[in-house]
Every structure is written in C-alpha cells, then in structure tokens.
C-alpha cells in the first residue's frame, strides 16, 4: 500500500485526480439532483413553518461545508507548515473561494428563511453573526493569497493566518454567544438524535448533505489542479527569465 504522501507530488496528484474527478463530479451531480428534487417536490410542508422548511435542504448543507471547508483549510495549512507539501497549501487556497461561496449561500438562505419566520431579514443572532465573521475570515484569507507575489511566502503567511484565524473564529463564536442569546433554533440535526426532525425531512437532507460534500470535494480537486498548473507555469516562466 502506497503512502498517502505520494500524492503530495504534483504530477502524481494530477494523474490521480484526473482519474477520480469525472466520477466524483458525476456522483456529486446525481446526488445533488436527487436530494434537491426529493426535498423540493416530494416532502410535505411543516405544520409550523409551511413550505419554508424546504430551504433547509440548501441552508444546512451549505453551512456544513462553510465550516468544514475552513476546517479542511486548517488541516491543509498545518500539513504545509509541518511537511512542506506544496499541493497541500494549494488545496487550501483552492478551497477558500468554495467555502466563501457556501458561507454566502448559508447566509442568504438564512436571511430569506428568517424574513417570514422571524419577521426580519437579519437579526444579530449568534449563529448568523458567527457566519458573517467566518465570511470576513474567508475574505481576508483570499485577499492575502492574492496580495503576496512569491508563492511560498504566500503559502506560509496564509497558513499562519488560517491557524490564528481559527483560534479567533472559535473565540468569536463564544464571545458572540455571550453577547446575544439568539433566536436561532439549536442544531436541528445530529447524527445520534435523528428523531429531532421527522424522517420525511431527514432522509432527503442527508442526501443533500452528501451531495454538497461530494460537490465540495470535486471542486477542490478541480481547483487544486488549476492551482498546480498555474504554479508550474509561473515556475517555468521564472526559470526561463533567469537563464
């Protein structure tokens, strides 16, 4: 069995991801269609929330990816800082815009859902606020990558920012909790308490979450490939200039 660090070689990564990507993308597409169609067309309305309950099929999975996307960037950053595998740093860079988009989707769907339910588009509820802060962290991270010219320097700086940012994101989460007890309902889902939400809603939601995870993975692979190619091109051009 080969070590997973073999995939830290850019060429090996490109070859393998090229093989995996079509399947992953197809799977993600199928799951997304099945989950959303199921959720949108074939679930009943909630007796309290009416048809707005259908929004959770977008809201919960995107929120899931928004948080876990940052977590993935944190792990990738640590791998880069400790083992110096370039692919890892580039994967973190590739994941950031996806995470940011997911955060926007979670915020948007949350606001649209909140309007009829809470009577307001935006409330300074701890969860909403935390997501807004998370979005700012994503923006800063992306901006720092874009601003630093040297690739290795940028990888180092953004990795450390990701580390420090993670600590402060957690801090902000608790600070915000202290600051305002919110309107938001508790996590409506957890794996061991499936009866929180009736099965009719739960199953399609699981499919949607799986679909978003698959979509995230496919996009990360695709974007990492692009980053590797961009990086190789810059390296080749730099070498050409020097000789």
């Amino acid at each position: 069995m080969a070590s997973i660090w073999e995939y830290a070689n850019p060429r090996k990564f490109l070859e393998t991801s090229d093989r995996v990507l079509p399947w992953l993308a197809a799977l993600a597409g199928v799951a997304l269609v099945v989950g959303l169609v199921w959720g949108f067309f074939f679930t009943p309305d909630d007796y309290r929330q009416g048809s707005t309950v259908k929004i959770i099929y977008l809201h919960v999975p995107s929120a899931l990816i928004a948080i876990n996307g940052w977590l993935m960037m944190l792990v990738a950053s640590l791998i880069w800082l400790i083992r110096r595998h370039h692919v890892s740093a580039l994967a973190a860079r590739a994941a950031a815009p996806i995470g940011a988009t997911m955060t926007v989707i979670a915020l948007l769907t949350g606001a649209i859902w909140g309007q009829p339910m809470w009577g307001t588009w935006w409330a300074w509820d701890p969860r909403l606020t935390s997501f807004l802060i998370l979005f700012l962290f994503y923006l800063g991270y992306i901006a720092l990558w874009a601003a630093v010219e040297d690739d290795d320097t940028a990888a180092d700086l953004t990795s450390i920012l990701c580390l420090v940012g993670s600590v402060f994101a957690v801090l902000s989460r608790y600070a915000v909790n202290f600051w305002n007890q919110g309107l938001h309902q508790g996590a409506s889902l957890s794996m061991d308490k499936a009866d929180n939400v009736a099965n009719v809603f739960y199953l399609p939601l699981l499919v949607c979450m799986a679909a978003f995870v698959l979509l995230f993975l496919a996009l990360v692979l695709l974007r990492t490939q692009t980053e590797i190619r961009a990086r190789r091109m810059r390296a080749l051009l730099a070498r050409e200039r020097m000789s």
Binding site: L144, L157, V164, Y174, W179
Partner: protein, 218 residues
C-alpha cells in the same frame, strides 16, 4: 530590548504622527456621532460606551501599518532580525511601543470624549478599566497583522481586512464591560474574559508574528 523601546518612542515623538494623529482621529469620530444619530442626550448616553470603544479601535487600526513598515523600508528590520534579541522579543517590544504611543493616549482621552456623549457618571471608571485591559490585545493583534502585510505595497487596506475580524472578541467583551459599567450592572465576568483574551494574545501571538516576519524577511 529597552534600547529598542526607547528608540521607537523617540521616533514616534519626533515624527509627530505617533501621538497626535490617532488622538485627532478618535476625537473626530466621536464628534461626528451626534451629527449622524441626533443630539438626543438619552440616546447618546446609551450608545456612548460602544461608540467610544469603536472609535478607540479604529484609531488604533489607523496607525498599525507604521509599526513595522517604516523599519521594513529602511532596512532596519533585516538588521534587527540579526540582532541578539529574538524576533519574538522584537515584535513584543514593537507592540508595546505602539500601545504606549497610540493606545494609552486614547485611554486617557476617552473619558474626556465621554463627556461629549454624556456618558453616565458611573461609567467612567469601567470605561477606562475596559480600555486599559483591552487595548494591549488590540496592539498585539495589530502587530500580527502588520507583520503579515509588511512586504505588500499599499497593504493598508488589506491590513484592516485581516485585522478587523480578529478584533471582534476584544470589541465584544470590551464594549460589554463599558456598557454594563455605565448601566450599573456587574462587570466581573466580562472583564475577566476580556483579560483572558488579552493575556492569551500577549502570550501567544508574538510567536505567530515572529514566524510571519521571518517568512517575509526571506
């Protein structure tokens, strides 16, 4: 270390920008608030702690890029990095110098500006205490941001974008202490949490700042 601190203080005094600009900015921000929300005393008194905290935070932010950028431009940072003091010590001293030249005058000026916003009498003590406890964290976090952006031309805006989200917990607890103080509620828990953040930031962030600076000096 003391030599470096004295030099930074002397430079701040001679260059003129250190003490004056942040203070003037603080004054202007606070003076503009009544124009934007109306002169009603009750409203001003209610929002005064928050406005003063936000103003102090923004005034701090304004001067962050001076912490390291000047030393970067004239090559001093290279030379400091080869000096006998570890880089962690250097960034800590830099943060301290920033706090003395920028944050401390703000703390002293805050009660005066509190009068402008008709801050209730019982609020002054906790306003000053919360600023004294909270602003060191602002300086240390800001130094980290300055170290991140030191090699970037016109990095000022990026610096704000990076630092502001990091300021959130400090602002929440700091303003909360000041608000509770002004309203005569208990402040202990929030003050302790604010102090914990400051201590944690002062203990750990210099390592991150030094690591980042080493990368930028490469």
């Amino acid at each position: 270390m003391i030599a470096l601190l004295m030099r930074d203080l002397r430079l701040a005094v001679r260059a003129g920008g250190g003490f004056g600009l942040g203070l003037a900015f603080f004054l202007i921000v606070v003076a503009l608030v009544p124009f934007s929300v109306g002169p009603e005393t009750a409203l001003l008194a209610r929002i005064a702690p928050g406005v003063l905290w936000l103003g102090a935070l923004l005034a701090c932010l304004l001067s962050l890029d001076r912490i390291l950028a000047l030393d970067w431009e004239d090559g001093s940072l290279d030379l400091l990095a080869t000096a006998p003091i570890p880089l962690e010590g250097i960034v800590s001293v830099k943060a301290l110098a920033h706090w003395i030249t920028t944050a401390l005058p703000l703390v002293i000026a805050a009660p005066v500006l509190g009068v402008l916003l008709s801050l209730p009498a019982q609020g002054y003590l906790w306003l000053i205490v919360s600023l004294l406890v909270g602003t060191p964290a602002l300086s240390v976090i800001g130094t980290f941001g300055a170290a991140l952006t030191v090699g970037i031309k016109r990095g000022g805006l990026l610096l704000s974008l990076l630092v502001l989200p990091l300021y959130v917990p400090v602002l929440i607890f700091g303003a909360e202490v000041a608000r509770r103080g002004a309203e005569g509620q208990a402040v202990q828990v929030h003050l302790l949490l604010l102090g914990a953040i400051t201590c944690g930031a002062m203990a750990l962030l210099p390592f991150a700042s030094a690591a980042v600076l080493r990368v930028n000096l490469r």
